[in-house]
């Protein structure tokens, strides 16, 4: 029974990773871009949600906000930050020769943004863990002896909705067709009349939205935020993405859940200290032995041709 309870907990935990892993896999699958700002956007939504509900707007422009409003503003900030990243990684990108370092320019820029955003939040609000006072996080259902926390159940539900929404968006809509065309071949997409200047920002809006929602849900669920919260989640989301296969949304879902299970099983059997080694080790092994992951196709990350 304890093991089953652990399994339920891991799925709940995994659902947080899933959302962020989907954000990673979306940018890699469509733009061939490993976006290192993703964990920072997650952190930004959570920290700003906390800061706005605790202090209100900076410079005393407003009093403390009610927590749902604060989190909503946090999500919007994450989207805006993501669009800012788009400006500087893709909009002004000068690729002249198409060599390997040029393909890395967005990645390097995103490392720059990681440093900027994370340290600005540290400067503004310090590095300590902060208590986020939201709804009662301990509201619990008892289903046949298994304990399920209601906010976690809601998170899981939201995650599932997001993934279904994304799949529909990519498969069924005009924007989705554009996204798929860019994923296939950016130059051909241009020739076929896809306006990359309008479609690429959509990827970043979705990234910001996904990370923002994940950050907000995390704050509600765990009641604690810190400027470092993105690093841990980012790690596990990347691992989930790789295990599921780069560029595959459903792969990221499965991978994220696997990492959740892996983590709680590791804690259960070996203790919390070894989680980092196990999760990164699983990632490394997948990359070495089976780089296309569970559902990926090996075409991602090739650079060109």
């Amino acid at each position: 029974m304890l093991l089953v309870q652990q399994l339920v907990n891991s799925i709940m935990l995994g659902s947080v990773y899933v959302t962020v892993a989907v954000a990673f896999t979306l940018t890699i699958g469509i733009l061939n871009f490993l976006n290192f700002t993703i964990p920072t956007l997650f952190m930004l939504a959570g920290m700003m949600g906390w800061a706005l509900s605790y202090y209100g707007l900076p410079f005393g422009l407003s009093g403390p906000m009610p927590w749902p409003l604060a989190l909503a503003v946090g999500v919007v900030l994450a989207i805006l930050a993501s669009l800012l990243v788009e400006r500087f990684t893709f909009r002004y990108l000068k690729t002249r020769y198409g060599d390997s370092t040029e393909h890395a320019i967005p990645l390097v820029s995103s490392l720059g943004f990681l440093l900027i955003l994370e340290n600005l939040v540290r400067i503004g609000y310090g590095t300590e863990e902060r208590r986020f006072v939201g709804p009662d996080a301990d509201l619990t259902l008892n289903v046949g002896g298994l304990f399920i926390r209601v906010p976690q159940l809601i998170s899981l539900f939201v995650t599932v909705l997001i993934v279904i929404f994304l799949t529909m968006l990519i498969r069924r809509t005009r924007i989705g067709r554009g996204l798929r065309a860019i994923a296939e071949n950016p130059d051909a997409a241009n020739i076929l009349g896809v306006d990359t200047k309008r479609v690429v920002p959509v990827v970043f809006m979705l990234t910001g939205l996904l990370c923002g929602l994940a950050g907000a849900l995390f704050a509600v669920n765990y009641g604690e935020v810190s400027p470092l919260m993105g690093e841990d989640i980012g790690t596990k989301a990347i691992a989930g993405m790789v295990i599921g296969g780069l560029g595959s949304i459903w792969g990221a879902v499965i991978g994220g859940l696997i990492v959740g299970v892996l983590e709680l099983m590791t804690v259960h059997f070996f203790g919390a200290d070894t989680v980092q080694v196990v999760v990164w080790g699983a990632l490394l092994l997948t990359l070495i032995a089976y780089p296309s992951g569970l559902l990926g196709h090996n075409a991602i990350g090739k650079g060109k041709l």
């Binding site: 500087f88 370092t101 390097v108 720059g112 440093l115 540290r122 490394l284 070495i288 090996n298």
Partner: protein
């Protein structure tokens, strides 16, 4: 020489060796985001052998170098079948696995770190850095170096030209890992203490940025990048507080200004990175720039080999 100056020279030398380690893989078109992991391997190998068995310094350095090179080889051989982002992820994961393993290992002191008995003076890393710099310049001047740069520019055409692409990539990456390990060993012996928390993801990011912002077209790039970014924090140490005091004084009260947060240094590095990627993605030092400098100095044309064209 003052302790402050010799300390800066030593860390500058270590950073230059470290940067060249990353450069060898980046110049071949492979981003290595696991620098901290390779440096940690070298540092802990040196620290452990020195503390536990009392090995002489040159032997601990050599072991660290070789061990790190072997790790690099073991990562590169399978991963370099694939391209691009896979290597970035694998190197990053490698560094995290190494850090996690060291943190959980009692043999290596866990979170407590290890004290290193063998101390070396500042000139040891400086001399080795000079040697490594010459070595990298030499490598880049050979056909092997030409192949590295060709692969960086166009892997497919390099292959059609007969370049053994995968072999060159694996060798360059492993040599780079070995140099990163060497820098770690020197770090251990210079500061006589290693703790795993120092070899974190930020360090990996930092050293990769040194190299890319310095420029990867020539071996001058990492030298410039490492020097600039090692000395920048030292310059900012005084500049940032005085800037803050100045800004506050514009608004009146300049008394008792708290020193600015350390994090500003990272913000500045981040802003520089983003701006460089927009305006000069090829890095600070480029080949056309060097050619331009040579033309302006008439006497210099006969000096170096490269200019005898």
């Amino acid at each position: 020489m003052s302790g402050y100056m010799s300390g800066i020279l030593a860390i500058l030398a270590i950073n230059i060796i470290f940067a060249y380690g990353i450069y060898l893989s980046v110049a071949t078109g492979q981003l290595n985001l696991g620098g901290a992991g390779f440096q940690a391997v070298g540092a802990y190998a040196a620290a452990y052998l020195s503390a536990t068995y009392g090995f002489p310094v040159f032997l601990t350095l050599l072991t660290g170098l070789l061990l790190s090179g072997v790790f690099g080889f073991a990562i590169a051989l399978p991963i370099l079948r694939t391209r691009g982002v896979y290597l970035v992820l694998a190197t990053f994961a490698f560094a995290e696995v190494i850090a996690g393993a060291l943190l959980n290992s009692e043999t290596f002191g866990g979170a407590m770190g290890i004290s290193v008995p063998g101390y070396v003076e500042w000139y040891v890393p400086v001399i080795i850095a000079a040697f490594v710099t010459l070595l990298v310049f030499y490598i880049m001047s050979t056909r092997f170096g030409l192949n590295m740069r060709a692969i960086h520019d166009d892997e497919e055409v390099s292959d059609l030209m007969g370049v053994p692409v995968r072999k060159v990539k694996v060798i360059a990456f492993s040599m780079g890992a070995a140099l990163a390990g060497l820098s770690g060993g020197l770090y251990a012996h210079t500061f006589t203490f290693v703790e795993v928390q120092g070899f974190n993801a930020i360090l990996s990011i930092y050293v990769l940025l040194y190299v890319l912002l310095g420029g990867t077209q020539t071996a001058w790039g990492p030298l410039a990048g490492a020097t600039f970014f090692t000395l920048l924090p030292e310059a900012l140490r005084d500049l940032l507080p005085s800037t803050k005091t100045f800004l506050v004084s514009l608004f009146g009260d300049a008394e008792n200004v708290a020193p600015p947060d350390e994090s500003w240094r990272f913000v500045i590095l981040g802003v520089l990175t983003v701006l460089m990627m927009v305006f000069r993605p090829e890095g600070l030092i480029t080949r056309p720039m060097l050619a331009h400098l040579r033309l302006r100095k008439p006497g210099a044309r006969a000096a170096g080999g490269e200019v005898l064209e």
